[in-house]
Each structure stands twice: as structure tokens, then as C-alpha cells.
């Protein structure tokens, strides 16, 4: 778990890109996304539900992802998110920007 506020803020700034990357490998619902972030970070980063949903809703409004209700037979219904072409483009842009920023920071720090 990340207790350091600065690293947590730094990670949160990349929520959109993290979510887009997860959706590149297939449609997912909210809790599935937060579980994957938890496990892919080996339990070091837990994304708050509020942060995740605000990112999902923003991405949806901007046309980067779309969503639909699944047809679960038991338990509550789930809303699945699907990446759109625009989202794929945004992911690669953000990834490139991050790689650049990382390279510069590595030189500076």
C-alpha cells in the first residue's frame, strides 16, 4: 500500500491511462478494473472507487470509452466499459508523453 502522499498523487494523475491500458485487453467492469490495478501493482496501489468512477465517466463523456450493462443471471448487474478508437489513440499519446517525462526526470533527479 502506498502511504506516501506524493507517490499516490503522482499515480492518480495517470488513472485515465492506467484504465485505458486495462481496457485494451478486453471489456471490464468497475470492480474488475480496481482488482486488476491492485494485483498488477502487487498490492502497492489501491485505486479509490471515486477516483476510478470519475475517470471512467470523464473518459466516457469524451468518447474514449463506451459502456453497457451486462446480462448477469445472478447477483447485481454489471456495467462494462469498452475502449473506443479515440481511447486507444489517447493511450498511446499519454504513454509517449510519460516516457518522455520519465526520461527527462531521470536526467534531472
Amino acid at each position: 500500500m502506498v502511504d506516501n502522499k506524493i507517490s499516490s498523487d503522482l499515480l492518480r494523475g495517470h488513472t485515465d491511462t492506467i484504465i485505458l491500458k486495462l481496457l485494451m485487453s478486453g471489456d471490464k467492469y468497475g470492480y474488475e478494473i480496481s482488482k486488476l490495478i491492485h494485483s498488477n501493482s502487487k498490492g502497492e496501489y489501491e485505486l479509490k472507487e471515486s477516483t476510478m468512477f470519475s475517470s471512467l465517466k470523464r473518459l466516457e463523456y469524451d468518447g474514449c470509452i463506451t459502456s453497457y450493462w451486462g446480462d448477469e443471471t445472478h447477483g447485481g448487474r454489471r456495467r462494462y466499459y469498452k475502449i473506443a478508437d479515440r481511447g486507444i489513440k489517447l493511450y498511446f499519446e499519454n504513454k509517449k508523453n510519460w516516457d518522455n517525462a520519465k526520461r527527462i526526470l531521470d536526467q534531472l533527479l
Binding site: G30, K48, E49, E60, R77
Partner: protein
């Protein structure tokens, strides 16, 4: 425990209950949290710990509210009544009450206003294509220079409303109230007004090619400078004055009853 979770969410979303997007989001969040709660319990946490870990994982709820969608932010402006130059395309505005609202230069394509109360609201230069005003109260509304193609006015109250210089092709008016309504300068070609009552309605300079008034009843209706030659009045009933004006404009008045 699930019930406790539901109550908790009810509490935090209470001020935003009315918004459709919030209701859906609440359902989505609740399902996620229930699954998370049962996962925590399966991992061996006791009920209370699992519950507080779940609640803690919500984080700052304002973050969601602020960015549910730009559409929601626009809906909140409802209090200001000024929706001018706002993109409200395809919005669900069923049953809303906006008296004297301003929807000037707005994109409202496909928006659903059914059952809403829009008394004295104004729509200037707006795109209202495919909008549904089913059963809406539009009395005293002013619609000017707008596109109203395929709009549904079925069961709407348009008493004293003005729809001027607008394109109403394929609009529907079943069971509408059109008393003292003003259609001056609008294109009503091909529109069906069958079986309706017109009292004090104004069709001055309106385009009425193929417009159908079958079995309609006219009292004090004005057709000055309207192109009535190709309008259909089959089976209509009208007062002497309306009849005289229509006759003078060379309308086809066979099978019309004068009262």
C-alpha cells in the same frame, strides 16, 4: 451488511437523487462494493473490518459528483433557466418543469421533453429535430426560426404558443390543443392536423402544401397570405369568416360545413 452498505450510499447520494445519471452510478457502485465486501470477508476479515475497509475504499465522493459527466453539470444549470448555446442533444428531460426557460441557439436534437412543463419558454434558432414534446405543456412558448422536423407534439398543450418562421416538416400534432396559437411564416407542408379544433389559431404566411385539416373545426382562424390552394379541408367545419377568407384564397372547400 449489504443493506448497511445500501443505506450508506443512499445517504451520500441523497442531495443528487433526482439526476438519472446518479441513480445509475449508485447502482453500479453498490454492486462493485458488495462484491468487494464479500471478497474481503472471503479473505478472512470479520464483518466490521470488511465493512469499514469497503467504505474506506470509496474515497472522496465529491470527486465522482463533480465529474459524473458534463451533461449533469449542464442539468444543474436548470435552476438558472438559461440553457442558451448549450448542447443538450439526446438528453432525457422527461417531466422537467422550466417556466420561462431560454433555449436559444441550443442543440436539442433527439431530446425527450415528454410530459414536461415548458410554459412561456423560448426556443430561438435552435435545432429541435426529432424532439419529443409528447403531452408537454408549451402554453405561451415561443419557437422562432428553428428546425422542428419530425417533432412530436402529440397531446401537447400549445395554447397561445408561437411557432414562427420554422420548419415543421413531418411534425405530428395528434390530440393537441392549438387555441390562439400562431404558426405565422412556418412551413407546415404535409403536416396532419386531422380532427383537431382550431380557435383563434393564426396561419398567416404559412406554407400549407399538402397540409391536411380533415374533419377539423375552425373558429376565428386566420389564413392571411397563406398558400392554402394545396391544403386539404375535406370534412372540415368552419365559421363564415374563416370560410370566406379561404374561399378568397382559392382553397378547395368541397365537403366543408359552414356554421
Amino acid at each position: 451488511m449489504n443493506e448497511q452498505l445500501m443505506k450508506y450510499l443512499d445517504g451520500i447520494f441523497l442531495p443528487y437523487e433526482d439526476l438519472h445519471t446518479v441513480k445509475e452510478l449508485k447502482e453500479e457502485l453498490l454492486n462493485d462494493l458488495q462484491e468487494k465486501l464479500s471478497d474481503f470477508k472471503n479473505q478472512g476479515y470479520d464483518e466490521d473490518t470488511a465493512y469499514s475497509m469497503t467504505i474506506d475504499s470509496i474515497g472522496d465522493i465529491n470527486e465522482i459528483i463533480e465529474s459524473i459527466s458534463a451533461k449533469t453539470r449542464e442539468l444543474k444549470q436548470m435552476m438558472s433557466k438559461d440553457f442558451s448555446k448549450i448542447n443538450l442533444q439526446d438528453s432525457d428531460l422527461k417531466g422537467v418543469t422550466v417556466h420561462e426557460g431560454e433555449f436559444n441557439y441550443s442543440a436539442l436534437k433527439e431530446t425527450d421533453f415528454s410530459g414536461s412543463d415548458l410554459t412561456n419558454s423560448s426556443f430561438k434558432c435552435s435545432d429541435l429535430t426529432n424532439v419529443c414534446f409528447d403531452g408537454a405543456n408549451l402554453s405561451g412558448a415561443k419557437i422562432n426560426m428553428s428546425t422542428l422536423r419530425n417533432v412530436c407534439f402529440d397531446g401537447a398543450n400549445l395554447t397561445g404558443a408561437k411557432i414562427n418562421m420554422s420548419d415543421l416538416k413531418d411534425a405530428t400534432f395528434k390530440n393537441c390543443v392549438l387555441n390562439n396559437m400562431d404558426f405565422s411564416g412556418s412551413d407546415l407542408s404535409g403536416v396532419c392536423f386531422d380532427n383537431l379544433m382550431f380557435t383563434g389559431t393564426i396561419f398567416n404566411k404559412a406554407g400549407l402544401t399538402g397540409t391536411s385539416f380533415k374533419n377539423a373545426v375552425f373558429r376565428n382562424v386566420s389564413f392571411n397570405m397563406a398558400n392554402v390552394k394545396k391544403a386539404i379541408f375535406d370534412g372540415a367545419t368552419m365559421d363564415k369568416l374563416t370560410y370566406a377568407v379561404l374561399k378568397g384564397s382559392k382553397a378547395d372547400l368541397t365537403n366543408v360545413t359552414v356554421i
